[in-house]
Symmetry: D2
Subunit: 347 residues, 4 copies
């Protein structure tokens, strides 16, 4: 076991933490040494997540009581605000893969505006690398602190970045109609997440005010070479996992959906986790459930000069834990797909 990576998972009692454990259990180089969950300290992980009862895992402990010695890397699934404080106190030689929102936004003023308080670990924020694996691979390789993107931004950016970079779509008036399964809201006790409030229903939420909007805008602005705003309208769908983004864009020049597919295929042809469907084929969340895949598709619009683009992924995997492990593989020089080869679960 000496060649294994010693791993800690902070905030292991969330759905993201559970999915990290599920995936790391199948990773031949991973050795989970620490699991923290303050509200459940002292319990075995199987008391919180019985589906993981078949694994030998360390008991949950409080983050304050954790012995960091010997850990190579921690995944941090703590709430925003808390994450920056805990990470600031970690040993400097330990790598950190953060799944919270704390280090995603490059501009502290934007962070403060959207999260309601000043950032409390600015040096770390400056150092952090944005962990969109397919687009920041080189920087991730050398990083100590990786800020994994939000689930929606991952789906949006994998779809739109290459098209903006290639100058195929306009930067103005990008409209993202997003649909997400309920696990995106976490395991917290909120009335809106009760079964009876969600089942047999669909609804928009956080319209024009979702915190993933500035994150998407930040990265798209870099690609476009200028500041841009987007429309980002999420909806809650009665399903556990999965996320589907339908994007409405204006084409530049004479571009059409065929060219968009080609550009995406050219960009991602060698990527193991991003698959571009032929023009007119519709991605669906059930095609990626439980896997680290992201599927992209493009359609011609009835409106002249426009196209419809679709992106789908599993919010807990490619949108969170899976991409985090992919980043770990990059940071430790391992094959990028290690432990992430699981095919989607359907039906």
């Amino acid at each position: 076991m000496t060649d294994r990576i010693s791993i800690g998972v902070l905030g292991a009692s969330g759905y993201t933490g559970a999915d990290l454990v599920r995936l790391l259990a199948a990773h031949p180089k991973a050795d989970i040494r620490v699991l923290t969950a303050n509200a459940h300290a002292g319990k075995p992980m199987s008391a919180v997540y019985p589906h993981l009862g078949g694994l030998a895992l360390p008991a949950l402990k409080r983050v304050e009581e954790t012995d960091w010695s010997g850990l190579d890397v921690v995944f941090c699934g703590l709430p925003h605000g808390t994450s920056q404080e805990v990470i600031a106190g970690l040993p400097e030689e330990m790598k950190v893969i953060d799944l919270s929102a704390d280090f995603r936004l490059r501009d502290p003023a934007v962070y403060a505006q959207w999260y309601g308080h000043e950032h409390r670990a600015l040096a770390l924020q400056e150092e952090a690398v944005y962990g969109l694996s397919e687009h920041y691979r080189e920087a991730i390789r050398g990083a100590r602190l990786v800020a994994c993107p939000g689930c929606y931004p991952t789906a949006a950016l994998l779809l739109l970045l290459p098209l903006l970079q290639a100058g195929l779509i306009e930067a103005e008036d990008i409209i993202i109609d997003a649909k997400s399964g309920v696990s995106g809201g976490g395991r917290a006790l909120k009335e809106a997440m009760l079964f009876c409030e969600v089942a047999e229903a669909i609804q928009p939420y956080a319209v024009a005010s979702h915190r993933h909007a500035p994150e998407i805008e930040q990265e798209l602005s870099i690609a476009a070479g200028k500041e841009l705003l987007i429309n980002f309208t999420p909806h809650l769908v009665p399903m556990n996992r999965g996320e589907l983004l339908t994007c409405y864009v204006r084409l530049r020049g004479a571009a059409n959906a065929t060219e968009l597919c080609e550009a995406l295929e050219e960009r991602y042809g060698e990527e193991p986790f991003v698959r571009v469907l032929p023009k007119g084929a519709a991605p669906a969340t059930r095609h990626v459930r439980g896997s680290n895949f992201c599927l992209l598709g493009a359609f011609d619009d009835r409106l002249p000069g426009r196209a419809i683009l679709i992106s789908t992924l599993d919010n807990l995997v490619k949108g969170s834990s899976g991409q985090a492990i992919q980043n770990m593989n990059i940071m430790f020089g391992l094959p990028e797909t290690l432990g992430l080869e699981q095919q989607p679960l359907f039906p």
Copy 2:
């Protein structure tokens, strides 16, 4: 019972037929005299729909064997193409409320293009009144043949018509991202409608090619005073009933979401079935389930000069059977809400 309306339901074995029967059973002036369903002729309705087993209903028969005498009105839930042929053969003094697509499109060329064959009852088509109750009430009152709108067009038009008419939104680049429950696809045996194909998943379908697009365009064009095209992108949601449309529009002049809400409220303030929510409140399908209500809402967009509009209804009620009964009430001079006062079923 002499003051009751004698009613026939053609194609009673579809979900729309079943919901017509459910609602008419609670209508104090309705008397169901004929139910047809060729594939189930001879069976009681309760053999096809056990949930209706508590009602005394006529047995199902073949449409060819139906005795039309004494019927005041028929609801026609037959497939498109068949509907026009059957309706053409009905007694002239009988009123007809058609729930198929056969008489919705005013231009026979558009019909032929989208439905794959020439229209076979052109005189009737010319006579037919488009049954969007709140917008064609007067014409419906005097009509013999009412063509009830599709479910998506009902939701789209109730939302957009007043705003276009008031000149508050641009007619260009109207984008409608639609989400529908599975009953919209009917009870036909299609692999895509199997539980395992739909549950725990969301997907787009018929992208840029759905037959409700030209119907929406037809009515919006009239309101705008010029030909327009729309983006219409439907998605299949794992729920039985309900439909939610998220519309992305450009504002004219200095209009904003507040004014859109006001315009809608002004238009629908007296309407019993259309409710306009305060700006920023999100309609959800669970707020209308099983009822004849349509809820409308508006939001300011992050993109300057744009707004986000939401419309929701139950596709089988206001989107189909409920609106059909509402039209029957209009045609027979009854209070428009008769038999349609049911509150939504939640949870």
Copy 3:
């Protein structure tokens, strides 16, 4: 409106309260005058239940601030324990229909054992009539305080009481495998009720320890003429509404499922809300959704001398609010079906 019944609903913010309001809104003799919900006092009902936004309703208030004058009857949907205290303080001339568990158990010792505290309104408990409409109709007619049965007991007793009374089944070893939708757990914030914990899963809960067991045993014991125990094993099903009980019983003498059906049909043939299916036809929750119906069915078993019995109802209607209104109709001398004629909602 002078001939209307003036009604108060205490604890209107639960799912039961909401369904009471939904149903009472369609009741021609009901006039809702008071709605209480301490945690939401001051809000309109539509803020708590937007699907009721189309109704003119009194604002929610604290129960302590309620003016009882002029009320003919209150429905009490408060938690157990609280109910008995609140009801004890109500004006004596007001009728009370209690939906809590407080007055269901006739033996105070059994109440104390299962609910963890001594009963605090013993005189009321003695006076209370058990509100199983079809079996205690006469007593309900003259009652001031009616204790509506639990949802599971309603389904179990409607099925088993006539068979025990007729001596067709043995009183020993009655096994009730129960399946319930999630609304049975109420709107409280519990992790086990989160969408992601329930969807795509089934599980038993409260095995051999559910509080509805002693209630079922109490009534079955009366019918059997001797004390009996039952097996009662509930399961949580990923659906909003509905309850299905599969009962495994031993037959007495040469009885078989055909005779059981006949006995049930004889008992309930004139009842408007209880329907007995032909032998071998399977009741399903979707056949009663949203309605006040209870469906009963019987099957021969492969095991000689045994039968399989099924009962299904909507836990929020016949299992709670609907039966409560049915009792109100009885108490006020109204036709028993008034306001309860809604057909099931399917799909």
Copy 4:
């Protein structure tokens, strides 16, 4: 690749076939060389199952056109009746793992009674080994033809066999109330499997007439040392995967649930895929979703002398494809868990 097992999957277009492919793709010794699906011959597997689009797989072909040379083993997922004919025509040196019902029943008369026709490959039937891995491991090791148990029998037998063998429960009046997800019904086009017929509902089906009953009886009779009948009552649950059996048994002598747990733990303590929960802990389908685990639990009953037993597994994995692969591992002398280590997917 020379040390890999060359594999054919017959009937690859069913859900079982798809799950075989999903799991074999992660199996380090598996090499899928042939996929048949007569109705889809010529198509790529990804056209039938887009979620498998990331795999390099042979195209689907007709079983009649298959070249068997070089195949070490075939998994047969064809319909019953067809399976026995196709398998009878396979090369004798090839191992066969049958997932159909054709070779499960040892008595041809019982087969004929339940499947409606004489068995057409009696010699093979005699040779076939019943593939309940944990109970027939030695026979499976030397078998050429393994008949994998049905999903329900797997769950029932893993739970009940050790208890009958240990003389802890009575053989009489064993009652199995079973609940299954919809994938158990396959991908065939049946109205009862449409989303709208299943969602928001639970219902019994095939009451006292399900074909898995004689299979369970066959194996329990061997364990009991005498012929026995069981009650087996399946129900359809609105979820994709998973199966939960609630068994009601009479205890022998002074046995109680604690002893049952101990006996199960003793029997399965070393088994990698069967986990016995502490007395009173409730197995749930969400704890096994997508994995090869089977969870067992026991509860004391309120009825003296009885116990409640629970078994849960994923019908497509341990109930079908997973157990088939487990059997392949046994037949080829591989570690039994190879390719089956995936943890459950939750939520």
